[in-house]
Symmetry: C2
């Protein structure tokens, strides 16, 4: 099923990822990799947790956003960047833009939580509110881009963003002594997962790439099973909208991320809400890490497959830690 290595990953190659890493290093944290005796006893595997919850803005999204912003040409920088997001990408793009000294325009639904709006505003971005529909979001963004000339930085379906996210797995491979059998990430839009595929191919080709996905938002699982991209139906269609506590993973794959994921991901493991909350609780109670539900998804998947993973060396990219302390599920 897999196409020949390299041939179809253009415009990505090891140099692309290394250049991205070099470009963003001054603006990101080299996050620690942690191990846990209790996790070893629980799973039977040697598990290495890459703590992107400890990344700037609390999520790996800073990597892709920084690579996109610092890849702009001089003429583009003056006009700034724009995106639509109410999540971690919005904060990441706002901070990256501030660090680069370029304007940022963030389209957010007017229903976005105040704390997220405040965070983006704190980073100095201009916020443009819209109705909470996909159509309003896209038309508002188009109007912003037309008015400002800003470059649209998609949250995941963007080559620079994907190359930036690839640096998380690249660091993980550097930080772990010896090869990993499997590396696991969560999958929503697929930026982190596709970046991880690229990093594995380039720097650790024997490592298999798996993902965890909420069963309530399993477009990537369904797509990989069918062999073609099956996005979530648009919000509003009865009985079909994705629904999960892992609110960072509600989005569907894009064509760019799907092209990479379809070639390089061995399996996607759907997990239940209970499994997500249980993995999240383990990370908080035992590993002392504040993790958002989406970030706990790959650990939930890993624990679900612990029979197969026994004795293996497993990397997990813990994607983020932005969570409202007053709304914990435990």
């Amino acid at each position: 099923m897999q196409k020949e290595k390299g041939s179809s990953l253009s415009p990505f190659n090891p140099e692309t990822i290394l250049a991205a890493h070099q470009r963003i290093k001054p603006y990101i944290h080299r996050t620690p990799v942690l191990q846990s005796r209790q996790l070893r006893e629980l799973s039977g595997a040697e598990v290495f947790i890459k703590c992107e919850n400890l990344q700037k803005v609390g999520a790996f999204k800073m990597r892709g956003a920084a690579n996109a912003v610092f890849s702009l040409k001089e003429s583009e920088r003056q006009k700034g960047v724009a995106t639509h997001s109410s999540g971690n990408h919005a904060q990441a793009l706002a901070l990256a833009a501030r660090l680069a000294g370029v304007p940022a325009y963030i389209v957010m639904p007017k229903t976005a939580p105040k704390v997220k709006v405040a965070a983006v505003k704190d980073y100095g971005a201009e916020i443009i509110f819209c109705e909470p529909t996909l159509q309003a979001r896209e038309s508002t963004l188009e109007a912003v881009v037309a008015r400002t000339g800003a470059t649209f930085i998609h949250p995941y379906n963007n080559d620079q963003v994907i190359a930036g996210q690839a640096t998380a797995a690249r660091e993980l491979f550097e930080q772990v002594e010896g090869p990993l059998d499997v590396v696991l990430t969560p999958v929503g839009g697929g930026g982190l997962l596709s970046g991880t595929v690229l990093a594995a191919r380039c720097f650790s080709p024997a490592t298999k790439v798996w993902a965890g996905e909420p069963a309530g938002a399993d477009d990537a699982y369904q797509s990989l099973k069918a062999g073609h991209l099956i996005p979530h139906p648009p919000a509003g269609e009865a009985g079909s909208a994705p629904n999960t506590i892992a609110d960072g993973l509600l989005t569907s794959l894009g064509d760019k991320t799907w092209a990479i994921i379809s070639q390089g991901v061995e399996q996607i493991i759907p997990v239940t809400e209970e499994e997500i909350i249980s993995a999240m609780r383990f990370l908080w109670e035992r590993m002392k890490l504040v993790v958002e539900p989406s970030g706990a998804v790959p650990l939930a998947a890993m624990l679900k497959e612990k029979g197969v993973l026994k004795g293996k060396r497993v990397g997990i990219i813990l994607s983020g830690g932005n969570v409202d302390l007053s709304k914990l599920p435990f």
Copy 2:
């Protein structure tokens, strides 16, 4: 006021700490040191957080316990170790003993939280319950030692324990590029603080050592002000018992820890309950770290003194992360 360096720190010297570090390295985590842009903006200082909440058993206590256990002579190992504690030292000693293959006897008040009892039992230690008074605790421990011949490992007033705790600051000095102006720890019994004084003298003599202490349990502050040891009055005396949310810091200094602290600590900063909770919330929300109230005390102290610390390079040892998720103060 300070005595001559080295002369009065016997039996401690750089070799003692280096030997302790070498001895315990296989059994502890080299915990990460994190920085936060938001903390820099909030404080005006360059702050380095040594994350001992990510240490084994969730606290720096693992260092001292491991050094004490692995320092035992062969004849002593067979008889095991004993202590009285319902806190992090109990878990640390139980785990260190398990790793060394020696028996552990832990005296706990019968009112100890079930989750803490279960954790110690999980590590394979024998638990001996007693009435929740100092007298019962001490007499029960004496009986255990008489019965088993086990070596008593005091939670902090013990040379091996102090040398073990010193390795946290030693690692911090290694991990931070360039010298620190100040290093801050919490202070309860004084094991971590006295170890930090020793490590600073040996490996970073220009670094000043400060501590944060809950105003509701400020025996160290009062002792340093008076120039002699003033322990908390025994529990039960009306109106005088120490009281703070930082339950790891309720204990009084011991003579060994006081001897070092009185010589090497420049100042102790009392902080209010509100300041502790606010610092704890910052660590959870912004730095994504699960920290117990005691662990947030030095950050609270640092923020209280931020006027003086502006522009300085400050290390903070975040002591532990063992907290009941169902009883958060926010």
